[in-house]
């Protein structure tokens, strides 16, 4: 009478114990696919000043000026990837700016183009910070290949807008004219 009860109790005990171990092991392995269900929404995008409505222009300087500095217009990076460790770096590069036949005095080499992103404006409530490289007085030189101009370090979706200050260092013999060139913004 008592014996079967005792056996039943022990069996229940060991079954309970056995059940406990695989459950713990399963929890460790994790249910693999559900990790991916959070992925799909937006990506990483960049918007730069659109010159089709208002031409992008960096102002005028008289010949003999040492430099010309002006704001380019808003650059916006939107990161909709929703990552725990959400980071991206923004880089800028430039071509030489030339006028006429692009002789030495008709050229502002890219080594003489400086870039400062400024503090940047993040949307309210975002977690993280945008750190620009360089300062207003010591902008990042676009001489090299792919200068980092700023980085966002934070958590979750984020949108950051900055209006970069572009500085051209001019030659004493710089020729008058409309100089044109290309500025590339990259985000990854």
């Amino acid at each position: 009478m008592r014996k079967p009860l005792l056996v039943a109790m022990t069996t229940a005990m060991s079954v309970g114990l056995a059940a406990f171990i695989p459950v713990a092991a399963n929890a460790g392995a994790g249910d693999t696919p559900s990790t991916f269900s959070l992925t799909a929404s937006g990506g990483l995008s960049i918007s730069v000043p659109d010159g089709s409505v208002t031409p992008v222009n960096l102002g005028t300087a008289s010949t003999g000026s040492a430099s010309l500095s002006n704001s380019l217009g808003n650059v916006t990076v939107t990161d909709g990837r929703g990552a725990l460790d959400a980071g991206w770096t923004a880089a800028a590069s430039s071509t030489d700016f030339t006028t006429g036949t692009a002789t030495a005095d008709e050229t502002v080499t890219k080594a003489n183009v400086g870039y400062w992103a400024g503090v940047g404006t993040a949307q309210l409530g975002q977690v993280g910070a945008f750190t620009p490289q360089g300062t207003l007085l010591t902008p990042v030189s676009l001489a090299g290949t792919g200068a980092n101009i700023g980085a966002w370090l934070g958590t979750g979706n984020n949108t950051v807008t900055w209006n970069p200050k572009i500085t051209f260092t001019l030659l004493p013999a710089q020729v008058a004219g409309t100089y044109s060139g290309t500025i590339t913004h990259s985000v990854s």
């Binding site: 696919p33 031409p55 980071g87 770096t89 590069s93 044109s180 990854s188």
Partner: protein
């Protein structure tokens, strides 16, 4: 129901048209474009083997044997107000001073030359998006190492002024090459030092050393305890996004509140890259002058993952003990019953009555 939703979402994330297909320029697409203005790119595929790796959702991350080829689909979208001619290509990248640093233009490195994107050009109208596929073909004679590149979508933004603009957005590629399994991810926290920024805010610098074979992206937090008057502060988030290549060592900074007293404090920092966590502690004091970094204090590693290795066996042990106690109790009861049976008692007592007498007897003892 929740599981069903999750699996539906997964299917959505994985099943994409096999050939580059253009999405409809519908109302929804335009609305989505407004949410993500500009030129956008998103990874649509991740390896199931790296399902637990959050970075694998954002970047192309893999460990491949020489001679292996993989493909990854990604979506490129035009969120501008103009039609765009997008070019797609891979460019080299490196990790420099703790920052991800892609090269300018399509300047290649070894890895970027192994990557091709199909199609290599796209024409997108505002609000439109298309799926492209990147192929990474590792040559059979590739040497074992981790390499970095970016798959770029680049477009010239139309304009009338003298300044032309190009927008580029890309997906990072962290590719480890070698035979056997993926090289281990590991890092150590060597030292902690108290410092003060130029504007007088205290900060903690944790020197992190990547001792594994893969690049790591660090995040984490710091807690201060046992300060002056028994004060406790934090947790303060670590400045995120510090990227370290294998073998590299860089400080991770944690900016603190200006009102904190100088110390000494017991600082405990927990840092994480993907699923790997490391903790360390040290006693630090913040310098009194601004712009000064105090001497680095050797950090003592605090075991973190040992907790689980300890807790699970402990729980098992407790359950076994409980089972033993129950068995012992049952066994003692049974012995007592047997003793009762040996007592000179009328055999006509029915079991129910007998147990009632047992209870009475037990109470009287």
């Amino acid at each position: 129901m929740r599981r069903l939703l999750a699996s539906l979402a997964v299917v959505g994330a994985f099943v994409v048209p096999a050939t580059p297909a253009y999405s409809a320029t519908g109302h929804a697409a335009a609305a989505a474009a407004n949410k993500h203005p500009g030129l956008g790119i998103q990874l649509l595929e991740a390896p199931t083997a790296l399902a637990n790796d959050p970075r694998a959702r954002l970047y192309i991350i893999d460990h491949l044997k020489p001679g292996v080829t993989i493909t990854r689909k990604m979506q490129v979208s035009d969120g501008t107000t103009s039609p765009l001619d997008v070019s797609l290509y891979a460019g080299g990248a490196e990790i420099k001073d703790g920052l991800w640093s892609p090269y300018d233009g399509n300047r290649p490195n070894e890895l970027s030359q192994w990557i091709s994107v199909q199609p290599s050009t796209l024409h997108l109208t505002p609000g439109q998006s298309a799926v492209v596929e990147a192929t990474v073909a590792v040559p059979a004679d590739a040497s074992a190492a981790e390499r970095y590149a970016v798959v770029w979508a680049a477009a010239s933004i139309p304009g009338k002024g003298p300044i032309h603009e190009v927008a580029r957005t890309g997906i990072r590629v962290y590719l480890s090459v070698g035979d056997g399994g993926a090289p281990p991810t590991d890092f150590g926290i060597d030292t902690l030092s108290g410092a003060r920024t130029n504007d007088g805010r205290p900060e903690v610098l944790a020197q992190v050393h990547n001792t594994g074979g893969r690049a790591i992206d660090i995040s984490g937090s710091l807690k201060l305890t046992d300060g002056p008057g028994g004060l406790t502060a934090g947790p303060f988030p670590a400045k995120l996004g510090t990227t370290l290549a294998p073998g590299e060592s860089e400080p991770v900074t944690v900016l603190l509140d200006k009102s904190l007293p100088a110390g000494p404090w017991n600082a405990r920092i927990v840092l994480q890259s993907d699923l790997l966590k490391r903790a360390a502690k040290a006693t630090i004091t913040f310098p009194s002058a601004a712009g000064i970094t105090g001497p680095p204090v050797a950090a003592k590693a605090v075991p973190l993952d040992r907790h689980r290795q300890l807790l699970v066996p402990l729980a098992v042990l407790l359950i076994v003990l409980a089972a033993l106690a129950l068995l012992l109790w049952l066994w003692r009861r049974r012995r007592r019953d047997e003793d009762d049976e040996r007592d000179p008692k009328p055999t006509s007592v029915v079991p129910a009555q007998r147990s009632a007498t047992d209870r009475l007897r037990a109470r009287s003892r």
